[in-house]
């Protein structure tokens, strides 16, 4: 399957199954568009009709371009066949390794954000804090089920994990005490709203956390509209100076400023640029996940505006790079040369199989977004996965399990999308959250265009 699009002056052709990307002129673009449906004679005739008036176009030139297309097809870089379907089901069925846990160390929060999918950290249940004993057992559970995988990921999540900071630190210390003996490499991530960040948190996180995810929605008025404390006071003024200090102190280690945009700020690039103005360079901005009846929910009418925003962002990132002041946007990160292998691309995020969430009580869920939905309770960290039916559902959940994805050019970039989003939108983890797909495809077009532009401009 081939996907063609024009963006920012570039004509781009993506060959889905091989992952090949071509930057072409408009003649080649049209030739490729016609190639599989028309004879060479028809294509030559049509190209002469369209471009014959140009000095650089004659029949011999068009024949040469047709030969180039044929060569790329022969090399498996154009019109290549998708042969991965059987592999997708086999790979997930046979893979029993767990390599990542999201630890819900605090089902409570010191903010009362209106759009919170975790309902202010409580996940529609009681407020709770994870004990060290539960956290320690979670680490052991992960090690026991990780097979020969060396890199293991643990995210301190909530609610607000800094409300249970000592336990986070104790869990890190325990994991570090066993990782050499067990031949593991723990990578910890802290996701925080920033309210309780202080020098001690920064120092510890910079020593121990592979990544920190810092929640900031952008402009003060945007951030404070939804991210408020229980007294109704916006959190921007409290957290921004802390985050600036935190990000600067990372000293090259990973961090992301992670924002959420809603119907209230469809001009979200202004929030990304605001974060850049504050000195942050590693940026992530996600569309809100909420019920369509929620006033914050994105609407169909927002979609074209969001597409425009993604283009504005891509072009501005190129400008910043040319000027020597680049910023990173999480969804535009794409490594065409050394990116993920086909197994990663067909098996997806690993929720419910190699990635699970652990509640403060040690219950297992397929991922953080299913926590609190009892029918998705998978077992616990003492007895392991006891709800095999749920695990089997997730084992069979991949890009080829969704008929809607069959003819989608982006399927090997998104891997079929988020199971939780699909579930919330359609009632099935094998469904498709179409709105999210539209945004994802636009982001991938922009991400690939940036790669092409950087290559062509040599920046």
């Amino acid at each position: 399957m081939v996907h063609q699009y024009k963006l920012n002056g570039y004509n781009i052709v993506i060959d889905t199954a091989s992952g090949s990307v071509h930057s072409v002129d408009e003649v080649a673009y049209d030739i490729i568009e016609m190639y599989e449906q028309h004879s060479r004679e028809e294509i030559v005739r049509e190209m002469m009709a369209r471009y014959g008036h140009r000095e650089d176009v004659n029949e011999a030139e068009i024949e040469e371009c047709l030969d180039d297309v044929a060569q790329l097809k022969e090399e498996g870089k154009l019109f290549s066949k998708d042969t991965y379907e059987g592999m997708a089901f086999d790979f997930k069925r046979t893979n029993t390794v767990i390599k990542a846990l999201c630890l819900h160390v605090a089902h409570t929060c010191n903010l009362n954000c209106e759009y919170c999918f975790a309902s202010q950290g409580k996940y529609h249940g009681e407020r709770a804090i994870m004990t060290f004993e539960v956290g320690k057992r979670a680490i052991d559970f992960l090690v026991e089920h990780s097979g020969s995988r060396r890199n293991l990921e643990v995210d301190f999540f909530g609610g607000e994990p800094l409300m249970n900071w000592q336990v986070c630190k104790d869990i890190v210390a325990y994991a570090r005490s066993i990782e050499k003996e067990k031949n593991k490499n723990f990578r910890f991530t802290l996701t925080t709203n920033g309210m309780l960040v202080d020098d001690e948190v920064i120092e510890f996180a910079n020593r121990e956390m592979h990544n920190v995810v810092l929640s900031l929605d952008g402009r003060k008025e945007v951030h404070d509209r939804l991210r408020r404390d229980y007294a109704g006071k916006g959190s921007y003024d409290v957290i921004v100076p802390k985050f600036q200090k935190f990000a600067e102190a990372r000293g090259g280690k990973d961090y992301y400023m992670r924002g959420t945009f809603t119907h209230n700020n469809v001009d979200f690039t202004n929030d990304i640029f605001h974060m850049a103005d504050l000195g942050f360079t590693e940026l992530s901005m996600e569309p809100v996940v909420c019920d369509p009846s929620d006033p914050s929910a994105l609407t169909e009418a927002d979609l074209p505006k969001l597409f425009e925003q993604y283009e504005i962002l891509a072009k501005d990132m190129l400008r910043r790079k040319r000027e020597g002041k680049p910023i990173t946007f999480y969804h535009y990160m794409i490594d065409l040369r050394n990116g993920p292998c086909i197994y990663k691309r067909i098996s997806g995020c690993g929720s419910g199989t190699e990635y699970m969430a652990v509640t403060p009580w040690g219950e297992l869920y397929p991922c953080h977004q299913f926590v609190g939905d009892e029918k998705y309770s998978m077992g616990n960290i003492w007895d392991g996965v006891t709800n095999e039916a749920v695990r089997d559902q997730f084992k069979n959940c991949n890009v080829y399990a969704r008929p809607e994805c069959k003819d989608c050019w982006a399927k090997l970039y998104c891997s079929g999308g988020c199971a939780a989003n699909a579930y919330h939108a359609t009632g099935s983890i094998n469904g498709v959250y179409e709105y999210g797909c539209e945004l994802f495809k636009k982001r991938m077009e922009c991400a690939v265009m940036i790669q092409v532009a950087e290559e062509e401009e040599g920046i």
């Binding site: 072409v24 002129d25 371009c65 995210d155 996600e286 050394n338 993920p340 086909i342 939780a420």
Partner: protein
């Protein structure tokens, strides 16, 4: 090729032969937590 520039990309078909080590980061864990994108993950297979 005069009219076609091909970017250097990892051949996904070939990656079926030496991929699947599983050492790469879990997609959603790293920053988004509300979507799935695998394209932005780094390959950590030193033997590829």
């Amino acid at each position: 090729m005069k009219r076609i520039k091909t970017m250097e990309t990892r051949d996904l078909n070939k990656s079926a032969l030496n991929g699947g080590c599983g050492e790469c980061q879990t997609s959603c864990q790293s920053a988004c937590k509300t979507s799935c994108g695998v394209a932005n993950q780094k390959c950590e297979n030193a033997a590829k």
